[in-house]
């Protein structure tokens, strides 16, 4: 009996899975999403343990051994035009992509959630905030990023800033939409009727109800952010050589397309797999978080 008292809370927790575990279990039923999860996990492992997984530094040149193809001894993925180990550059590139992806999504989330909550809940702020968001939306994303970089100068940090700003309106719209529908619910009126403050209602009662669309979009946005970083770097606006950034690597490799196509193709495949992975996981999450899916399936 006493054990039951002590374990009271735990016993209940064991009996039913929490929200996240439930979602995760549903996600695991989706084969494509599992494939995506594997790729993302691999990428995370590569990024964290990069120095232990490679035998050469990413910028270590060996001019005696340039443009070696895939499968060369000691260089699984060959070498580039300076004799740098491609495997090492890809692994370090994964690091950059992930850091850029996570930081842009994080900044975009903070900005987008704040603005979206305010716009959705306070009618007076709605027009001001959302019209400004529309303004940001009106620019093609890459153009906006290029504009910001042109003002701030080319560097990876500025790319992060540019892509974050570009991510904010998307999140703001999604959050605002959810807030608009949730604030009409009776439980929000009930919360007001027991004397909860606006801040408390927004952060403790409305925001947790918006998590599903936010999670899905953040995941998808990771892919887009990584792709945009690569595009900007490819155009020479982001990471500068010799940084082992995938987009920059493609740019450097395009001169050797004929002699050593793997220099451009390998980072291209890496980008493709990453974006594919984030998109299928995002799709899987959307299905897993949608409560109607159970009925239809």
């Amino acid at each position: 009996m006493s054990a039951e008292v002590v374990l009271g809370k735990k016993a209940v927790a064991e009996k039913k899975d929490g929200f996240f575990i439930q979602t995760f279990k549903k996600l695991l039923k989706n084969k494509l999403a599992v494939f995506g999860l594997v790729i993302i996990s691999l990428q995370i492992i590569l990024a964290i343990f990069a120095p232990f997984l490679v035998s050469y530094g990413p910028n270590e040149q060996n001019l005696a051994l340039t443009n070696q193809g895939v499968g060369t001894e000691g260089h699984i993925l060959g070498t580039d035009n300076y004799g740098r180990d491609m495997w090492s550059r890809i692994v370090y590139g994964a690091r950059i992509s992930l850091v850029v992806g996570i930081s842009t999504v994080a900044i975009g989330l903070v900005g987008g959630i704040t603005l979206g909550l305010l716009a959705g809940y306070f009618k007076k702020l709605d027009n001001i905030i959302m019209r400004f968001m529309d303004l940001l939306f009106a620019f093609p994303g890459i153009l906006l990023a290029m504009l910001i970089i042109a003002t701030l100068g080319t560097s990876l940090v500025n790319v992060v800033i540019a892509i974050s700003i570009w991510s904010i309106p998307g999140f703001a719209r999604i959050v605002r939409g959810s807030v608009l529908s949730i604030k009409k619910q009776e439980y929000i009126l009930a919360m007001r009727s027991i004397g909860a403050s606006n801040t408390r209602i927004l952060l403790k009662h409305i925001l947790p109800n918006c998590t599903a669309p936010i999670i899905v979009n953040a995941t998808m946005r990771m892919g887009t952010a990584i792709l945009s970083t690569a595009s900007l770097s490819f155009l020479g606006l982001g990471a500068q050589p010799p940084t082992p950034e995938w987009g920059a690597m493609i740019a450097a490799g395009q001169d050797f397309m004929w002699d050593a196509p793997h220099i451009a193709i390998i980072p291209g495949v890496a980008i493709m797999l990453t974006i594919f992975a984030f998109n299928v996981v995002g799709d899987g999450l959307r299905d897993a978080l949608d409560p109607n899916m159970d009925i239809q399936a």
Binding site: G8, A13, K123, L189, M191, S193, I194, P208
Partner: protein, 331 residues
């Protein structure tokens, strides 16, 4: 004498695209501690809006245009949001019609039940948990400890309404506003919930404003009854008088429309027509287009509130005719 709640000449307007429309017109009533007032009326009669206005919870486009709401002598109209917030859930609480939607689906019962305690009494999480367990037991929920960690969807409608009541009563308010709390429940559960509210009222000595359209519920729970039609109070009186000697044709119509199970041959009586929209300006008495007793004066002049007897009043010209008849008989 100071009333627990005194509402005087309350007018509530709504800003719409077409201009302002009056949802509540010149409503006055008062309530003492330990008393239950039932506000009765059809959908759209302004009864829910009246109850929401007591807490300052009108929708964004609604305003109290005129009148006063005094709670224990304290004026609530025009009070700052912050000050109202301190009253809500603490001194004045509310329970809602739909227990299915009035609880947040993403949180456990315990989490939500603790909110008023944390907001108003600054209890720590553990204390709040203990107290909410006691509250659940008080409103008759079996296994309160287990229920604390369950989500709203795991409970039945009746159980959820009990949770809502526990939440409303967490800080032992002196006024409880119940907006059709039994409408969404089936009859047996309805009776249980009514008993529960009545018991808790006795225990805490609260005043209860009970909004309903169910005359059966009124008979069960009310001390005083206020009948509303199209934003106006048409008749007030204590429950016995209203049931035994209704004066206003609308009240009579409502009472006649209650089905009688024992009488198999009974044809269900109806009030022909439907409630006018809040925008409709009706010359004279607002009920006259549907009133079987409408006279010429009803179409021209708005009837004032007339006293039938002490504590019983009706807004109807028939009253004057009756009084006139009486006076002619005596003369």
């Amino acid at each position: 004498m100071e009333h627990l709640l005194q509402v005087e000449n309350l007018v509530i307007g709504f800003r719409t695209a077409k201009g302002t429309s009056q949802a509540v017109r010149d409503v006055s009533f008062s309530l003492e501690e330990g008393e239950t007032l039932c506000i009765v009326g059809e959908s759209g009669s302004g009864k829910s809006i009246t109850s929401l206005s007591l807490l300052g919870l009108l929708p964004e486009n609604g305003d109290i245009a005129k009148g006063s709401i005094r709670f224990k002598g304290e004026e609530l109209v025009g009070k700052k949001e912050e000050a109202l917030r301190k009253l809500r859930g603490n001194k004045i609480s509310m329970i809602f019609q739909e227990p299915m939607t009035a609880l947040n689906p993403v949180f456990t019962i315990g989490y939500q039940l603790q909110e008023p305690l944390i907001i108003h009494q600054n209890l720590s999480k553990q204390e709040a948990r203990k107290r909410s367990m006691a509250l659940l037991a008080e409103v008759g929920i079996p296994n309160p400890k287990e229920k604390l960690d369950q989500y709203p969807h795991e409970l039945s409608g009746g159980m959820r309404q009990r949770v809502m009541i526990a939440m409303a009563l967490a800080c032992e308010p002196s006024l409880l506003i119940a907006d059709e709390p039994t409408t969404a429940l089936d009859v047996t559960i309805q009776a249980q919930i009514l008993d529960l509210i009545d018991d808790l009222k006795e225990q805490l000595g609260m005043g209860v404003v009970f909004v309903t359209h169910d005359m059966g519920v009124v008979a069960e729970i009310a001390d005083k009854v206020m009948v509303m039609y199209a934003g106006e109070v048409v008749e007030t009186g204590d429950v016995k008088t209203i049931f035994e000697d209704p004066q206003h044709p609308y009240t009579k119509g409502l009472l006649a429309a209650v089905p009688n199970v024992d009488d198999e041959t009974q044809e269900l009586s109806i009030i022909p027509g439907s409630m006018p929209s809040v925008d409709d300006e009706i010359e004279g008495c607002r009920f006259h287009p549907r009133c079987p007793f409408a006279m010429d004066i009803c179409k021209q002049k708005k009837p004032p509130v007339m006293n039938v007897s002490e504590n019983h009043s009706s807004r109807c010209w028939l009253q004057e005719v009756n009084n006139h008849d009486k006076s002619t008989v005596t003369s």
